[in-house]
Symmetry: C2
């Protein structure tokens, strides 16, 4: 498939790299192509800057959000939660009607430091905000409950014996997304129903962050045992 | 141990019954002993009224919140989230200094129907509110992430191969609580650190409730796979 990955950080890199490896035609979208290609320092977590990563990914193109979205059947929102709505607004300079948007962001607010709080929660979610503002998009919330490396290579922990969630209003879009998740190696994809299911998965983040501190690693996931 | 279980509903019954079965001296606390013993109809979920349950539990006493708390080394808050602070205030007519309070309630607000929202979240929690108002109590948040039957008989699903969380400021209290959890059959107790760890476990409830609807049963739990 033709896939646009919005976001050039470590999450976007993980998704773009894995999708390209699986044979998809991947374009990474960014606000400012020149600015992204001028980056020379690691991000705040010590991850390599985009050009260094991209040097090893000759098949992955870089373009503006709108250029990347124009050609794609599927968009992946891999921007940070606070950058999500502006990024998709920029992408919507292209016609997004009927396209699938896989939203893997979390509404984290770091304005008061660590741990972050959530800027939307409980009776609304980032997934719902996207679906409400872009009714022509078919938004599927997924993958926001695990670290980037495990999103795309779930077998790195317990041979993939854990769970990933999915929520969205469009059954066809969820079928496509479930296929992508299975191609990554996910074996237990739970469909939580319509996009309001995003609330629960986004509200898992405070527990996830606490567990990361307790276990001293982001390489874990939850399994729904039933 | 001498244990006071605050709350006469299905959660209080599950805890009191299991603790009595394990040989503890259990008193159930209620706001109004006469009113509780006059109940003849099932609760909103079809669970039997307290007197019917109590008829099969000759060793379990019923008393006011304060009478139950006065004699106990350990208190279990098994009231609903909205009834929690009033119940512990009533119990605090007794001297609670140094006692352990196991808080298993969730701050669910049903005022707008189902699913409930959370009346405290994100930057605070019910567990923290209890610890702040009753600094002499040693509050341990636990068991609020699974259904009552599984709290006390975890082996009913996957032979207990799933996780329960614990958060609190007092290491000695957590050691006592971990021992009780293990006596119930829990095999994976994760200590999330101080009482602020309650935030993440309480915020799991929207996902838990959604999963209950999706799986059509409350008999499931999450396992932290690492």
């Amino acid at each position: 498939m033709k896939i646009a990955v919005l976001g050039t950080g470590v999450v976007g890199q993980a998704l773009a790299g894995r999708l390209a490896e699986l044979g998809h035609e991947v374009t990474v979208g960014t606000r400012d192509v020149e600015g992204t290609m001028a980056k020379t320092s690691p991000d705040g977590m010590g991850n390599p800057p985009y050009p260094q990563w991209a040097a090893g990914q000759p098949k992955v193109r870089l373009a503006t959000f709108a250029e990347a979205a124009a050609d794609a059947e599927v968009l992946v929102n891999a921007t940070s939660g606070s950058a999500t709505l502006p990024a998709v607004r920029a992408a919507s300079a292209a016609d997004l009607t009927g396209k699938i948007l896989i939203d893997i962001a979390n509404p984290l607010d770091f304005s008061a430091g660590f741990p972050p709080s959530l800027f939307v929660k409980d009776t609304d979610s980032l997934g719902e905000q996207l679906q409400a503002e872009f009714p022509g998009l078919r938004v599927v919330k997924t993958l926001n409950t695990l670290t980037a490396e495990l999103m795309v290579r779930p077998r790195a922990v317990a041979d993939g014996n854990h769970t990933v969630f999915m929520a969205g209003n469009d059954a066809g879009a969820k079928k496509t997304v479930a296929g992508l998740l299975e191609s990554f190696g996910h074996t237990d994809v739970i469909d939580l129903g319509d996009i309001t299911g995003a609330r629960g998965t986004e509200m898992l983040l405070p527990l996830w962050l606490r567990l990361m501190g307790t276990l001293n690693t982001p390489m874990f996931n939850i399994k729904v045992v039933r």
